[in-house]
Symmetry: C2
Subunit: 198 residues, 2 copies
């Protein structure tokens, strides 16, 4: 017997989820079929709600239910400092650190020549324009500490320094080769305190 078509269709999409392969996609598909109906309805509803309500903040490109996002709309924050992160998940990790009061900017990834991701594929122009238009005084580069993140930070630091703006990199505390998203709050907090000019 071949797999029923309805299950096959689910599997074809689910197997492209990050960290999921064909066999796991099959297990997840059967799991969805066996869930109580309220739960599968809740899943469908959550996906549709997220897809319809979540949008990119036009200032920092964070994913948010409002535009501008709550952080950009918060007038109590230091509006002269921007922390640049790769993804919205990274932004959430950094924003758990209560002692950072500046704003953010989500690049949308990191430079990666092997994956054919160059400067034009990231929001670098928007970032530079924002630094200029809003007279930003310091840009904290909080890209991941792997090779792609480091390259991206070096590349951005160069451009930012040419604008006579201070570019800093998250300091000690971050394990090299890691992913900022997985760092704990204390590590990120130390890294912000120990940031140094590039």
């Amino acid at each position: 017997m071949n797999r029923p078509q309805a299950i096959e269709r689910m599997m074809q999409i689910i197997k492209h989820f990050p960290g999921v392969g064909p066999k796991m996609a099959e297990r997840i598909s059967y799991h969805i079929l066996r869930m109580p109906v309220e739960q599968s309805d809740a899943l469908v509803d959550a996906i549709m709600q997220a897809r319809s309500t979540m949008k990119y903040c036009s200032i920092c490109f964070n994913l948010s239910e409002s535009d501008p996002c709550p952080i950009c709309a918060d007038s109590d924050r230091d509006r002269k400092t921007i922390c640049v992160v790769e993804t919205p998940q990274d932004l959430i990790a950094v924003s758990k650190v209560k002692d950072y009061k500046g704003l953010y900017f989500v690049l949308g990834g990191a430079l990666s020549p092997l994956d054919a991701i160059g400067p034009q594929d990231l929001r670098i122009d928007s970032l530079l324009k924002r630094i200029k238009d809003e007279a930003i005084t310091e840009v904290i580069l909080a890209t991941d500490t792997d090779a792609k993140g480091e390259t991206t930070a070096l590349y951005l630091a160069q451009l930012i320094k040419e604008m006579h703006v201070k570019a800093t990199r998250l300091g000690y505390g971050l394990p090299v080769g890691g992913d900022i998203e997985y760092a704990d709050e204390i590590t990120i907090s130390r890294a912000i305190a120990g940031r140094k000019e590039m």
Copy 2:
């Protein structure tokens, strides 16, 4: 910033998927948000379609778009032999072996005292009733070859032999401690050829 509520809702359901934890649920949720809209629509549609069209076959408890399922409805098959499997996924794996022409029965799991799964939690009564009503002559026990599957096979073999019906277990070829779902077709084919009475 806390995670937006719409993403949180997706994560709460996805983190219970088999093999998925909270961090992976977050990645999958953001992946779903970033998918092209046609694809997220297709996912929602596939889930809804699967949930509305898939049902349990009332004879073998396979998941199918029709009741009885295509296998039980196929009059060319040997109707006196039943192959008992734990899950619909296992049934699909066994059914790829073209030389098995009998019918199936999906137990719905395996005995597992540690998880408080006893005989009353599986479809054992339905199986015994079907063996009697349809005058089955042989039951092939194709539960997994791990401890739970072996225990279940031994338990069922005892009950089936008391009914003076032949109970066989899939033979050599299956690696011990494995999951039938992951076995390749040749291994399953050999195991069927080498089945032995219990």
